[in-house]
């Protein structure tokens, strides 16, 4: 991935190399065919993949191999996925993404309460899987790099709150503001790199969650849509500042909880 000459910040080179060269994902899924398909999909995108059929095999592999992220199916025989998630979170800070065919809101909330970092309902596309794994890994790396900063799935800026697990944005008056997937990912890219000028290409790279999709809308349109939703009436302090000739910069300070 060649960086464009538009970069002005010396730190921007760090932006794109935050992930380990080949992250190792452990897929805990009892359906063998599904395991194979997940493995192929992730391997095609540069991941190392190991598979476990149940909780027992999961513990076994976690002990033996350097795993960076656990992909956990909730519908497992024997000890259920939710219990496994709770136990795993109790023992380690390893990133967990839960996957299930039961797409109810309750399951999602419950999983996140039990310590999962993200939730992916089946069926999911290969691109979505890769993008979510990357996003969770980036986040955990950021947290690891700042061990003193409070961990938590809520990010606050200028009165706004982002719930990283539920992928929600809440306004200063407490209203949920709906964002499209691309808008959310763009905002995520901004909050992960505040006070830095990000070029269009960088934003594109960071926020591209649907790698297989043809990305019709330019970054400008995305940022403009995002602004319409989060920025107050014209005149007040902007949240995203346009830097002429370079790109955009996220202005407010960020706190976590």
């Amino acid at each position: 991935m060649a960086l464009t000459s538009e970069q002005t910040s010396p730190e921007s080179s760090r932006v794109l190399s935050e992930l380990p060269p080949e992250p190792h994902v452990l897929a805990v899924e009892d359906d063998a065919v599904m395991r194979r398909l997940i493995a192929r999909t992730l391997q095609d995108s540069g991941f190392q993949v190991s598979g476990a059929r149940n909780g027992q095999e999961m513990w076994d592999l976690l002990a033996r191999l350097p795993i960076d992220l656990v992909l956990l199916d909730l519908m497992l025989p024997g000890v259920g996925g939710l219990d496994l998630c709770r136990t795993l979170r109790g023992k380690s800070t390893i990133p967990i993404i839960i996957v299930t065919a039961r797409g109810s809101e309750t399951d999602r909330v419950l999983g996140l309460e039990l310590g999962a970092d993200d939730y992916l309902p089946k069926p999911f596309s290969g691109a979505e899987l890769v993008a979510r794994i990357r996003a969770v890994l980036r986040r955990s790396r950021m947290e690891a790099a700042q061990p003193s900063a409070p961990r938590g799935r809520h990010l606050h800026f200028a009165g706004w709150t982002m719930d990283l697990a539920r992928r929600d944005l809440i306004s200063p008056e407490g209203a949920t503001v709906d964002l499209s997937g691309a808008e959310y990912d763009t905002l995520l890219a901004f909050v992960e790199h505040p006070h830095r000028v990000l070029s269009r290409d960088q934003l594109l790279e960071l926020s591209r969650n649907r790698a297989g999709e043809v990305f019709d809308r330019s970054v400008d349109v995305l940022v403009s849509r995002l602004r319409k939703k989060i920025e107050p009436e014209a005149g007040d302090q902007a949240i995203i500042k346009t830097v002429r000739g370079s790109g955009y910069m996220f202005v407010p300070d960020i706190t976590r909880s």
Partner: protein
């Protein structure tokens, strides 16, 4: 222009009518019988009286000598009963052709002692005696062959006071009718309860019948309650089966989706993609519809404009003509995931069947109105009521490519009803369909 009286249709009405007719028939029969019996007994009394007088007269006259008989006869007479003596028959017998006279003859033979086989001549005499209408003239032979001739006025029998009887009978029937009405009420009330419960079923909260009262009522109510429970169970089983199938389909579809994404052949991928998406969409809508009331999403304060903007932007990105206009700021308490799905269905319908979607948000007193207009053919007036039925699709929409399960509007209406809102479809005069959603502002809403 005759008015045909219509038969009563209610149970009470019919029973009452039947009772009244029966009462009248019995009533009339009783009065008739009473009259006949009373008349007969009155006639008998009259005959007995006549016989008594005749006997006295015959006995007295027979005991006297012929010269004294005339005077004795005169002294035995009264204005209504004239007696004379004759030694030869004077009265022509007319009893041969008159059944009544024959009968009278029989009775007199039986009642007057000493007549035995002696001759009795009787006839009716029209000549008025003392003002009475009908006179019986006759003669009775006595022992020595002479005749006691009499002329008796047959006064019309006066029936004893009938009014008293009539009143008594009327009161009797009134009492019977009152009892009948009371009994009818006992039957009507449970019948009405049954009808109400049946009407309520599947529309409002099911009514459980009390199973009290006469045995047949208890049986009927028990059977009805059992049937309600059976039907509930049947529906629950079917719903669960449908949900299970839809849910289970997700696993093979999940596998197919990953395989599709791994395909190198872009052409093939492009062909399979839409079908997969359609299958996923059908399952999602079916499950959303089935979960409908049980979905425990909690209402949250939500920016309605942001929600609609996302949907409209997505439609524009997909190449459709869609627009949004309205206030910049509008927040409401609602369930964002469900409401977004509902609006998505409406906007999707507009762009798919109507070619475009113009979304307008208006503030109303205590409510917000979201209108989605399109320029399509609208919905035929005959179908407008039916489009909300689950799995109902307009014939025009059944072709492949327009997709849809027929649940979009059903779910949308369900969702908005849960928010205490309203969804109304109408055909615009300029052509095209208008979907108008009204949502209450509530205590925390601000627009």
């Amino acid at each position: 222009m005759t008015l045909r009286p219509s038969w009563p249709t209610s149970l009470a009405g019919r029973t009452l009518l039947l009772l009244l007719v029966t009462a009248l028939v019995i009533y009339a029969g009783a009065v008739l019988a009473y009259r006949v019996i009373a008349t007969d007994s009155a006639a008998e009394a009259r005959t007995a009286q006549l016989a008594g007088r005749l006997e006295t007269a015959a006995h007295e006259i027979a005991a006297l000598g012929p010269s004294a008989r005339g005077a004795a006869a005169r002294s035995l007479s009264s204005p209504s009963f004239r007696v004379t003596w004759s030694d030869a028959p004077l009265v022509d017998d007319a009893s041969a052709g008159d059944a009544e006279l024959l009968a009278l003859c029989q009775q007199l033979r039986a009642l007057v002692a000493g007549v035995g086989a002696h001759t009795i001549h009787l006839r009716w005499d029209e000549h008025a005696v003392g003002g009475s209408r009908s006179v019986l003239a006759g003669e009775v032979e006595i022992a020595d062959g002479s005749y006691v001739v009499f002329s008796a006025a047959m006064l019309p029998t006066a029936l004893p006071a009938v009014q008293g009887v009539l009143i008594a009978v009327s009161l009797g029937f009134a009492a019977i009718i009152a009892v009948a009405l009371f009994l009818l009420y006992g039957i009507n009330a449970p019948l009405r309860r049954l009808a109400l419960a049946a009407d309520h079923y599947a529309r409002d909260q099911p009514i459980v019948l009390p199973e009290r009262g006469p045995r047949e009522v208890v049986q009927a109510e028990r059977a009805f309650n059992a049937m309600q429970r059976r039907i509930q169970r049947l529906i629950a089983d079917r719903t669960q089966a449908l949900a299970a199938v839809s849910h289970d389909l997700r696993t093979p579809i999940a596998r197919m989706r990953l395989r599709c994404d791994l395909l190198a052949d872009m052409g093939l991928k492009a062909e399979i993609e839409p079908d997969l998406a359609e299958m996923e969409a059908m399952i999602e809508t079916t499950l959303a519809y089935l979960r409908g009331d049980e979905d425990n999403e909690a209402p949250r304060l939500t920016d309605l404009i942001a929600l609609l903007t996302t949907l409209v932007d997505a439609a524009v990105d997909a190449g459709h003509a869609a627009s949004l206009s309205g206030p910049r700021h509008c927040v409401l308490m609602l369930r964002p995931v469900s409401v977004k799905r509902a609006f998505a269905n409406l906007i999707n319908n507009a762009v798919t069947h109507g070619g475009c979607a113009r979304v307008v948000v208006d503030r109303e007193p205590d409510a917000v109105r979201v209108t989605i207009d399109d320029d399509g053919p609208g919905i035929p007036d005959a179908e407008i009521g039916r489009v909300f039925e689950p799995f109902h699709r307009l014939d025009a929409a059944r072709g492949r490519g327009t997709g849809g399960t027929g649940l979009g509007l059903t779910i949308a209406r369900q969702v908005f009803a849960r928010e205490d809102g309203l969804l109304v479809l109408s055909n615009r005069s300029e052509g095209g369909l208008r979907a108008a959603v009204t949502l209450p502002l509530g205590a925390r809403g601000a627009c």
